[in-house]
Symmetry: C2
């Protein structure tokens, strides 16, 4: 005994979402069918459109339905000489929200992960190297996550980039602003110590 | 700064799924766009079809894309005199898997919940009463969940059903088979004690 064919198909399809198992998929399907058909139809439309129309920006690899993303298409950014390398589109938004950076981005859409079969070309590093070849970029800011994989990816890109006329920098590790020292993990704390700066009063 | 319009729309739409907030919706959208377009398209199709074609069985209220669900349409079940009341389609499947029950079901699709504005008619109790009026049903098995809401719903239905010629029963509370007494909560344990049966050897 199973659910009716269309309900079962919906439950099975929902399991393609990350972190969604059988029980959660069931709960989602029942909730939409019983209480939110309109939301379900809206989601169906948004999914269908996004899956077929969203591609990658030809320059930075971020998701976009145009040839160039909004940032790459902006005249002010086109002449930028700084390129900030991030792992995900969400990182671009986080950095944009600081309003500290006026350069361009390059979105890896992940990090090197040999076990998952994700190598340099899956991260578009060939496209990145072409960008460096053009000679417009003078600084490469490595803003991958401060995780083992993020550090390994940053290291790999730095190795590649040192053949070009470009300054390579890494975002600073340290104590989060507003954090309390006693709750900061030891690794972060030793980074914060070794990365200490002169403090003039 | 936001994601591109179609990506943002996808993220917003995913938030209609229960338990999915902004961060989870983002992760889901990126995962589908980057690693599983095929799964995303399949989900879009399954959703669109289910939202428009799945309705309720005219007899038991379970989800079905036909007029009657598979169980209600089965000739053997049509002549059944037992009616088992459950809260959700998943409960029907759980009981069917025991192969202990050959009667019909009535699916409430929830439980009484005044705070959420869910009253008797939202649970189809008018349809249930019509069923009782027909006089075919001789036993009503209340199999709502052993929760406060489930008990209240069972109580409400029992009050309604006592005006009809029908035996009313409630599934037994007690110690789960294979469980250890010391880990069973006190409420369940007192139900297990007061519901004790003669044990003949
Ligand atoms: Zn771009
Ligand atoms: Zn039915």
């Amino acid at each position: 005994m199973k659910f009716s064919p269309l309900v079962q198909e919906l439950i099975d399809s929902l399991k393609c979402l990350p972190g969604v198992g059988s029980k959660t998929a069931q709960r989602m399907a029942f909730q939409l069918l019983e209480r939110n058909r309109q939301g379900g139809e809206k989601l169906a439309g948004a999914l269908a459109k996004a899956m077929t129309e969203v591609g990658h920006c030809q320059q930075c690899r971020n998701f976009t339905e145009s040839e160039l993303c909004e940032i790459c298409a902006s005249p002010k950014r086109k002449i930028a000489t700084q390129l900030c390398i991030v792992e995900s589109p969400a990182d671009v938004i986080a950095i944009e929200q600081t309003a500290e950076f006026q350069g361009r981005y390059f979105v890896l859409m992940g990090h090197l992960s040999p076990l998952d079969g994700i190598g340099p070309n899956d991260l578009g590093l060939d496209i990145l190297e072409n960008e460096l070849l053009k000679g417009q970029i003078t600084e490469l800011i490595l803003a991958t996550n401060p995780t083992v994989e993020g550090e390994a990816t940053a290291h790999y890109i730095a190795e590649m980039a040192k053949h070009y006329q470009v300054t390579i920098s890494r975002i600073a590790h340290g104590v989060p602003v507003g954090g309390e020292l006693e709750y900061v993990d030891g690794n972060t704390l030793s980074h914060a110590l070794s990365g200490r700066k002169n403090y003039s009063v």
